[in-house]
């Protein structure tokens, strides 16, 4: 039941927010998102990680007599993703408090509505239900980005929308095919349940093409090189809140999809293609990093760094060993927290100076001590300095890739050096040096801004110092996943 509550509460709240005229909408939306987070915490306290089984399950028939169920539930991986979503959404709403978006009720209602889609993706245990929420999450983010975005938004978001739908339709076709493979002995016994998919015994050839049908959908969402071309423009043109939602949570949908619906469903397909995927991911790491070094626009820089970080996560989970998978899960949390914080700091700087060009900024530390400290911590988290959250994830991921192939591990390890280069170069250009005309009258953080950044920074250290709080939740579930893959 608690899963259903988690799923539908944001949608209900969205309807409520829609009715509120004026800027009061954001307060209601914020409270609703906090309630959602409280529900998620409640679910965590009652969660029994041992055994890694599904909990809080609800299984109702959805399409009668067709084996398509409204089946939801959470294991450790799902729970961590739900926690990430419910933790970030209130902060994302709070981060918008200083903006006066027009039609605020629609803006905040769409964010909450999108939360339902995101939670749905993470808790769905039926293939068609998963696809359903996968697209439900896309519609609101498209409108948020396309209505409240920057000057070039229309073209960019159209590309984003068509690109992602293109990928996900392939996933749908693969799901339908798999659905007809279930219950092969009895035509009436077709099922789209996740367990039915896991029990399929498909030939290596069909697994091979199904792999690509599914992988394209997930790879576009993550995005893995070379399916990333929509991403930098979309991140740059979207309003900050949409960028945070996209990078902080939505790209995790793709990685989660790989974990739940790709690796265990077509393990033979994966073993045919994993080397290629690793190569693509590692190209993505180097490519994203190198381009990030060359960027002058702060938002684009973080967008490209995101490609690099996600490349490492993708490489890690396709190694199919425990370090790689656990590292992928924990790094999803870390990346979500760090990238949300960094985009917020860029937004703070942009609103005060009206520029995101590194060259026209500088000397901000002299005016804004608190901002500098928060910025530095989040940045070090992204660079994966020990004691921060990024270190745990990247260490596990790199050791996973190293076990798979030492050479791959060596090249992927470049990410740590390269990310230090572009991040520190950015920090230097923006925060140190002499003041420019834009940063002359820079004011330090307001109460609201601190209220967003403090929880994020706490999490950076929490995951960095006590990663076991989270690793222990996902470990049995990852073990289960590996058992299914290696059966």
């Amino acid at each position: 039941m608690i899963t259903a509550l988690l799923l539908f509460w944001p949608a209900l709240a969205a309807l409520l927010v829609l009715l509120i005229k004026g800027q009061g909408a954001k307060k209601v939306a914020f409270v609703a998102a906090l309630i959602e987070f409280a529900i998620a915490i409640l679910a965590t306290t009652g969660f029994d990680a041992a055994g890694g089984r599904m909990q809080y399950e609800l299984n109702l028939p959805w399409v009668e007599n067709a084996g398509i169920g409204f089946h939801i539930g959470m294991d450790g991986i799902s729970l961590l993703m739900v926690l990430l979503t419910t933790f970030l959404v209130p902060l994302i709403i709070l981060s918008a408090f200083n903006h006066d978006y027009k039609n605020p009720n629609a803006f905040y209602a769409l964010i909450l509505f999108m939360q339902t889609g995101l939670i749905g993706v993470f808790v769905a245990l039926d293939a068609f239900l998963f696809y359903f929420f996968w697209e439900v999450a896309l519609i609101p983010i498209y409108f948020i980005a396309a209505i409240w975005g920057g000057t070039n938004r229309i073209k960019v978001t159209l590309k984003f929308f068509v690109y992602t739908v293109f990928g996900s339709l392939f996933m749908l076709a693969a799901f339908v095919y798999l659905y007809f493979q279930t219950g092969a002995t009895d035509a009436a016994a077709h099922s789209s349940d996740v367990q039915a998919f896991y029990q399929l015994a498909l030939s290596a050839e069909s697994q091979s093409w199904i792999f690509w049908f599914l992988f394209i959908a997930f790879a576009i969402k993550m995005p893995v090189f070379p399916f990333h071309t929509w991403q930098p423009d979309t991140y740059t043109e979207s309003p900050t809140q949409a960028t945070m939602l996209l990078s902080g949570i939505m790209l995790k949908m793709g990685i989660y999809g790989v974990l739940r619906w790709l690796l265990p469903v077509v393990p033979m397909g994966v073993s045919q293609w994993d080397e290629l995927v690793l190569v693509l991911s590692i190209i993505g790491i180097v490519y994203g990093s190198v381009i990030a070094i060359r960027q002058h626009d702060l938002k684009r820089l973080i967008a490209y760094s995101s490609i690099a970080h996600v490349g490492l996560i993708a490489a890690g989970i396709f190694t199919l060993n425990e370090q790689g998978l656990q590292g992928g899960v924990i790094q999803m949390l870390s990346h979500g927290i760090n990238v949300t914080g960094l985009f917020f700091i860029i937004d703070i700087i942009y609103r005060r100076t009206n520029t995101r060009e590194i060259t026209s900024l500088g000397g901000i530390t002299q005016n804004a001590k608190a901002l500098s400290i928060f910025f530095m911590i989040l940045l070090l988290g992204a660079v994966a300095l020990p004691l921060t959250n990024g270190f745990v994830g990247e260490f596990l991921l790199l050791s996973g890739v190293y076990q798979y192939n030492a050479w791959f591990g060596a090249v992927a390890g470049l990410t740590i050096i390269l990310s230090a280069v572009y991040m520190l170069r950015m920090f230097q250009g923006v925060m140190f040096g002499t003041k420019s005309e834009h940063t002359d009258a820079f004011t330090d953080l307001t109460f609201n801004e601190k209220a967003v950044l403090i929880p994020l920074v706490i999490m950076v250290f929490w995951i960095g110092l006590f990663p076991n709080t989270f690793l222990s939740i996902s470990e049995p579930a990852v073990g289960n996943l590996l058992n299914i893959i290696n059966r």
Binding site: P61, W62, V63, E64, N65, A66, F128, Y131, F132, F133, W134, E135, V136, L138, I139, F143, A146, I147, R153, I154, L158, F161, V162, V165, F166, L169, F170, L172, A173, V176, Y177, Y179, F180
Partner: protein
């Protein structure tokens, strides 16, 4: 059967009511008639009856599709407000013609005999030829009527020729008997039969605007007053596809190998022409015309699949498509009336600000046509793809359809972009009557409802 009689009587009554001075009563009266017909039609559920010496069978298939078509007409009528307001429009005649053509449509889904199919198509078509030209002073409307009539009569001839050849080969018009005769059994070839079959397929393909027999569609849809285009795109198409499937299923199941290559070629062409054609259209109306061709393609995919899932897939897809089309064409008509006949994308600019409700409903419609979840269109596509994938060897067709569906998103989203992301400029608020508002809300609600719980109707047949 009762619905056919009632509709004919109501059509005539409507004509006489037209003599009254006030036109205000016409719309409520016509709506009332259709509600009665809708209810009476449902009474025949699970109660199969044959009429006229086995010429017509009212079975669940007929009842289900009659239901869609009557419901659609019911939802279309309230958009005739501009005709009620205009002094010199012959509203009573329009309503009567729509009711009469509905009679033809019902015969097309209930026929048991090729002659009845022919008569049904003719009753439906002749009313549509007239209505296409109902805007007498418009050159485009006249062109549409003439084009539709000339092409239509030509292809009716082709259809009739096909029927005759089939009769020559089998000695009967009855579709069950044709099926039982099974001329092509044991792989024998029968040129007369094959030719007749081919001509029948071509004749019906024209009626549902399948490529390469679609050339009339964009011009006719564009020239015809939008109110009647809505009817053409929904009722005529539903009747055509339902008749097509019934024909193939009852009469030509045994000769599957003879018509399968033709159907698959027509389907692929229709999908490609419809979706690619829609991308380059300058006006919303022409875009919707091409999109209706593409939807004929998706519907034809069920014929390619030709298995136990096809019937329900056609039913669900037709219903979701009809609902979405009523919304899109209905709003197009309202917008067009307010913008002096302009039906380009620019006419929709800023609709999200001037008419939030219309813009929202139009968005639901576009998402449903595009097959995005939360809307009925998603499950329509899912069921159609399912039927094809179940055959096991047509994955390439699904891949093609998937790629084209993604292209489809592009042109549907263009309307949404115009509504929400372009400034209104000189576009003012579009006036909407109370009836039309109600209909739009009902359609949007049904579309979302079917998008959430498709099980309500997905397993009826």
């Amino acid at each position: 059967m009762t619905s056919i009689i009632l509709l004919s009587v109501f059509g005539i009554v409507n004509l006489f009511v037209g003599f009254l001075k006030s036109k205000k009563i016409l719309l409520p009266l016509a709506l009332l008639f259709l509600i009665v017909v809708f209810g009476v039609n449902l009474l025949a559920w699970n109660n199969t009856q044959t009429y006229f010496n086995n010429m017509l069978t009212i079975d669940n298939y007929a009842v289900a599709f009659t239901g869609i078509m009557v419901l659609t007409t019911l939802l279309i009528l309230p958009f005739s407000q501009s005709y009620i307001d205009a002094e010199d429009e012959n509203l009573a005649e329009y309503y009567s013609l729509l009711l009469f053509s509905l009679v033809g449509a019902i015969m097309m889904v209930a026929y048991e005999n090729l002659i009845m199919l022919f008569i049904g198509i003719e009753i439906l078509s002749i009313a549509m030829y007239v209505l296409a030209g109902s805007n007498k002073r418009s050159l485009r409307s006249n062109e549409a009527a003439l084009k539709y009539f000339l092409m239509g009569s030509f292809f009716t001839g082709v259809l009739l020729f096909g029927i005759v050849l089939i009769y020559g080969a089998t000695g009967t018009f009855d579709i069950t008997e044709i099926g039982a005769a099974n001329v092509m059994a044991d792989g024998t070839t029968n040129t007369m039969f094959t030719m007749g079959l081919l001509l029948l397929v071509i004749g019906i393909s024209f009626k549902i605007a399948a490529a390469p027999f679609h050339f009339w569609t964009p011009d006719v849809y564009e020239g015809t007053p939008t109110f009647f285009t809505t009817f053409m795109a929904t009722v005529v198409k539903t009747a055509g596809v339902a008749a097509f499937y019934k024909l193939m299923n009852a009469a030509f199941e045994g000769s599957f190998t003879a018509w399968f290559p033709t159907i698959i070629a027509i389907t692929v062409l229709t999908l490609v022409v419809g979706n690619i054609g829609a991308v380059i259209q300058p006006s919303v109306k022409r875009m919707l015309a091409y999109s209706s061709i593409s939807h004929a393609g998706y519907l034809l995919m069920t014929l390619v699949a030709f298995n136990d899932l096809s019937e329900n897939a056609i039913f669900f897809y037709s219903l979701s498509y009809a609902l979405a089309s009523v919304m899109s064409f209905g709003i197009l008509k309202l917008v067009e009336d307010a913008r002096e006949g302009n039906h380009s994308f620019a006419a929709f600019n800023g609709l999200g600000k001037t008419n939030p409700l219309l813009a929202f409903v139009m968005t639901v419609s576009m998402l449903s046509l595009g097959g995005i979840p939360l809307t009925a269109g998603f499950f329509g596509k899912l069921f159609v793809f399912s039927a094809v994938i179940e055959t096991g060897n047509l994955m390439w067709l699904v891949v093609l359809a998937v790629v084209l569906a993604a292209i489809g998103i592009y042109y549907y989203i263009k309307v949404v972009i115009a509504m929400y992301m372009q400034p209104a400029g000189e576009n003012t608020k579009v006036p909407v009557s109370g009836f039309a508002t109600l209909v739009l809300i009902i359609c949007a609600a049904l579309t979302v409802l079917l998008g959430l719980v498709p099980g309500l109707v997905s397993n009826m047949l």
